[in-house]
Subunit: 265 residues, 2 copies
C-alpha cells in the first residue's frame, strides 16, 4: 500500500527533490520523469520507477493506479503526497499528478547494438538539455536506435531533457563517450559517419546514406570541430536560403534524420 507523505522533511521527498540536481542524480543513479502519459509509455517499454509519487487525484486515474500497482509489485516505493510537494519536485507551478524516479541505465558504448537500427544520432558537446530531449524524441519518431553523447554534453537525465523527450528517454538507447573512444568503437564495425557542414560541397538531398548510418550533430554555437569533420565518411550541406548561416541543432538533426530515412524507402 502507498504511504501518505506530506512533510517536506520526509527523506523520500527530499531524495526526489534532490534529483533536479545533476550531482544528486549521479550519486543516486536515478532520474525523474513526470506525467501519466510518459510513465505509462515507460511501463509499456518495460520500465518501472523505483519510487513513484502522486497526488490523491493522480491515484484515482485508472492508468495511474496501474503504474502505481506495478511499481509496488516490483518492489518499488509508492508515496501519495500533496500538490505542493509534487510542484517542488518538478519545479513547475502546475505539476503533473504522477512523478517517477527511474534507475539511470549504464551508458557505455558497449551497450549499443548497432545492428538493431539503421540510424543512430550522435551529438557533440550539445549544451542545451531541451535540444537533447527534442533530438531523443525525433530519434524515436524516425526509428533511430538511440543517441550517443560525445564529449561534454548536457545531461540527458535532467528534468528538462526528459520532459522534452516526451518518453523517448525510455525507448532510445543512450550512450556517452569521448570522441576518440567513440571513433575506435565505430571503426571496429560497420557504419557510415555523416556530418553536416557549411563547407561541404555535397547537397544533403543528393548524398547516398548507408546503413547503419551515424548522424553527427555538432555543438549549438561552434558546430563540429574541423578534425571531427575530417573523420566523417560523408559531409553534406543543408543549403541555407536566407540570411542565417545555420539551423538550430535540433532542427538540423530532424531534417537530416528524416531525409536519411526517406532516402531508404
Amino acid at each position: 500500500m502507498p504511504r501518505q507523505v506530506s512533510a517536506f522533511s520526509n527523506p523520500t521527498v527530499k531524495l526526489l527533490r534532490s534529483l533536479r540536481d545533476k550531482k544528486a542524480r549521479r550519486a543516486e543513479g536515478l532520474f525523474l520523469a513526470e506525467g501519466l502519459r510518459i510513465l505509462t509509455e515507460a511501463r509499456d517499454s518495460g520500465r518501472l520507477p523505483e519510487i513513484i509519487a502522486f497526488s490523491a487525484e493522480g491515484a484515482r486515474h485508472p492508468l495511474a493506479a496501474e503504474v502505481i500497482a506495478a511499481t509496488e509489485a516490483a518492489g518499488g516505493d509508492a508515496i501519495e503526497t500533496t500538490a505542493d510537494i509534487l510542484s517542488k519536485m518538478s519545479g513547475k507551478d502546475n505539476p503533473q499528478m504522477v512523478i517517477g524516479a527511474y534507475r539511470q541505465p549504464e551508458t557505455s558504448l558497449g551497450r549499443i547494438d548497432r545492428s538493431k537500427a539503421p540510424l543512430w544520432i550522435a551529438v557533440q558537446a550539445l549544451r542545451d538539455p531541451g535540444n537533447l530531449g527534442t533530438i531523443l524524441r525525433t530519434g524515436d519518431a524516425v526509428g533511430a536506435g538511440g543517441l550517443i553523447l560525445l564529449d561534454d554534453c548536457a545531461d540527458p537525465y535532467s528534468v528538462e531533457a526528459v520532459r522534452a523527450s516526451m518518453g523517448a528517454i525510455f525507448t532510445q538507447d543512450v550512450a556517452a563517450a569521448p570522441w576518440a573512444e567513440f571513433l575506435s568503437w565505430l571503426r571496429a564495425g560497420e557504419g557510415q559517419l555523416v556530418g553536416t557542414s557549411l563547407k561541404a560541397s555535397q547537397d544533403y538531398l543528393e548524398a547516398e546514406y548507408q546503413r547503419p548510418c551515424f548522424l553527427l550533430i555538432g555543438n549549438e554555437q561552434q558546430g563540429l570541430p574541423a578534425d571531427y569533420e575530417a573523420e566523417c565518411d560523408l559531409l553534406v550541406k543543408i543549403p541555407m536560403a536566407g540570411r542565417a548561416d545555420s539551423l538550430n541543432a535540433a532542427m538540423a538533426a530532424a531534417v537530416m534524420a528524416f531525409t536519411i530515412e526517406a532516402s531508404w524507402r
Copy 2:
C-alpha cells in the same frame, strides 16, 4: 554622441528593462534584440534600433561602433551603460554587449505579399516562444517568406522568441490573425493550405506541394483542431516509427518545410 548612463532609475534604462514584459512591448510598440551578430544582421536587412544600449567593451568593437553610429545618424538614442544594467535588460547573467530596442512592424495580413516566396508557415495557438523563434529561424533557412500567427500564439517579439530566431525576426514577415480572417484572406488569392495530421492517409513524401504553399502547424499539445484540418487542401502524415505519436511542433515544421522545398527542386 552616446550618453553615459549608469543609474537603474534612468528613464531609458527603465524603458528598455520594461520591454521584457509583453504589456510594455504592446504599449511602446518596441521589442528587444540582443547581440552584435543579430543587430548587424538587422542592419544588413535595413533595420536599425530606436534605442541602442551597450557596454564600454561593446563600443570598442568595430562592428558595434558601426551599428551605434548608424543608429544615431538615423535619429536613434545611444546609451553606454554597465554590464549590470545590460544583464537586467536581457535577463541573462552573461548579457550581450549590445542590446537594441526596435519598432514592432505592423502585423496585419495585408502586409503579406504571398507572391514574394513559395512557402509560408502558419502556426496555430503555438504557445512556446522558443518554438516560435526556432520556426522563424527555420523559415529563414528554407527560404520561406514569413510566419503567420493564428489565434492565440506566444508573442514573437518576446525576448525568448527573438533570441531563438537568431535574427530571422528581421528577415521573415510576421503577421497575426484569427483563423476565420486568415482563411478568407487565403482564399482571396492563390495558395495551397497544407496540414499535418496523424489521421491523414497520404505520406508527406508522396504528396504534391504547390506554390505558394501555406504550411499549417498546430498547437504543441492539441495539434490542429478538426475543423481547421477540414479546411486544408492537403493533409499529410509524417509516419512515426517509434512509440511516440508526434514530433515536437518546431521539428514537424522543419521536416515539412525542408521536404516541401526539396520537392520543388
